[in-house]
Amino acid sequence: MTDAALATKEAEAILSVNNIEVIYNHVILVLKGVSLSVPRGGIVALLGANGAGKTTTLKAISNLLRAERGEVTKGGIEFDGEQVEASSPSDLVRRGCIQVMEGRHCFGHLTIEENLMTGAFTRRDGAANVRRDLEMVYDYFPRLKERRGSMAGYTSGGEQQMTAIGRALMSRPKMVLLDEPSMGLAPQLVEEIFEIVKKLNEEQGVSLLLAEQNTNIALRYAKYGYILESGRVVMDGEAKSLRENEDVKEFYLGIGGEGRRSFKNVKHYKRRKRWLA
């Protein structure tokens, strides 16, 4: 990326996270200075293995962290031109930043339609507009329309994921923090959901920050990516360049540079050294 492009990107960032540190329970340091930015209308992927701090980063942004006794102790988060580290989750939703949590978290005893309607809880622009958005969500997810009357707890994993995304859309977000949408779903379904997410991004102009373990698919849909390891950003770049990076290929995409080889021969220290150098 040229300097000029970088400058415009900075100017247009809808979300920028600056060097945040997160501590759980006053003792456990989880994020050790994470910075990232999401351009308005862009899709950015946040990659990394289990426990790297992807979910914590998203929760720090949406401020769901505080309910888990976590705290942003350093750094700042700017959303849509305002500092938001101190805002409550409901305040953030009202401003247009909503998180779709990992593991879907639908309201099991509510119907699909009621689930979707809870997304509009913070809206004050009248029932007619909410109704229109409900139809829009059904247009994107026709499967939900068929099952609008079923209890969400009894629907399939894919339908629940769709419900969770649709519910977030009902709040008319400018930005969605999407946590692990592929978790526990069949590959075909994952593809379907990512296609819809891409369509939403293009047609509704929703910016997306996507936390994924499935590096392969995330880098296909995102334009930019950050790789987290033990609470730090160890690498970032255009999705295309990340896809072609030898280390990313080896550690996250499972494609070895020199054909197949045994992990017996891969020395652990080599990995660590290279990342944290």
Binding site: L64, E68, S90, Q99, C106, G108, F121, Y154, S171
Partner: protein, 333 residues
Amino acid sequence: MSPAFLYFLETVLNGLMTGVMYSLVALGFVLIFKASGIFNFAQGVMALFAALTLVGLQTGQVPFSHLINAIFGTDFHQFGWTLPAFVAVIGTLVVMIVFAYLFEKLVLKHLINQEPIILFMATIGLAYFLEGFGDLMWGADIKALDIGIPSGGSFWLEDVTREWAAEGSDYFGMYIDKLDVVAALVAVVLVLLLMLFSQYTATGRALRAVADDHQAAMSVGISLRNIWVIVWSIAGFVALVAGIMWGAKSGVQFSLSLIALKALPVLILGGFTSIPGAIVGGLIIGVGEKLAELYVGPFVGGAIENWFAYVVALVFLLFRPQGLFGEKIIERV
């Protein structure tokens, strides 16, 4: 009709009426348990406190009069007015809402995401605090509560039922307290209102969402703290209704808070998370204990009414721990 059958009928009806009173108390528990997973030990004391406040407001008692008089050496206990019942009820409702707000602000807020047992302990603390606070505010003497609900038996019903009995039998007619009938009607209206509220309003939907998944509710922008204030206010309202009914029946006194103990088996029977469960559970316990007293009591020397409910609850715990209407946990992998 034979007198034996009429006795049976009378017992069942009286049982149903008592059951409704139990349900009223159980309802308050269910509301809070559903929305926040807290078993509110203070529900009974809340009913007592609401009844005390109602009587105090209505009769124009000066709150904290003993305290004030002790500090300033004055001697005044009464404002010297009598408020209409309607105004006093509204006033009490306001007090209960303020109470819910303060409880959230001072206690619950600091206990977000703690273990249920810790929240339970907090409600035990609340129970004792509120009991003492009620005494301090309104005095510890037994008070009569009268907001104009009819009470006593109905001569009309006695006459009608006496004619049903066989000629020459010594049946003197059915005794059903009018107060109980009113309580039953009030309970029905209350439950209908609660159901309509939770099914058809956005706030009701949010309440159910919070009951299902706290975290997800927060993620869509529902503020848990506001929801808790609302839930505790509604529970305060239910406590007020229960307090009025029980207070009118047996006077406003400390033992009013012990009806909470009777609500416990009702909850186990009906399920902790089900509003219809609280109602049906209450009715079953009410009828069950009256029938047991009538038919089994003579063989064991009576007083079955006092422990029957707990035995039923025990049996239920063994065979159907989620209760009659308790929600089964829906889980998919």
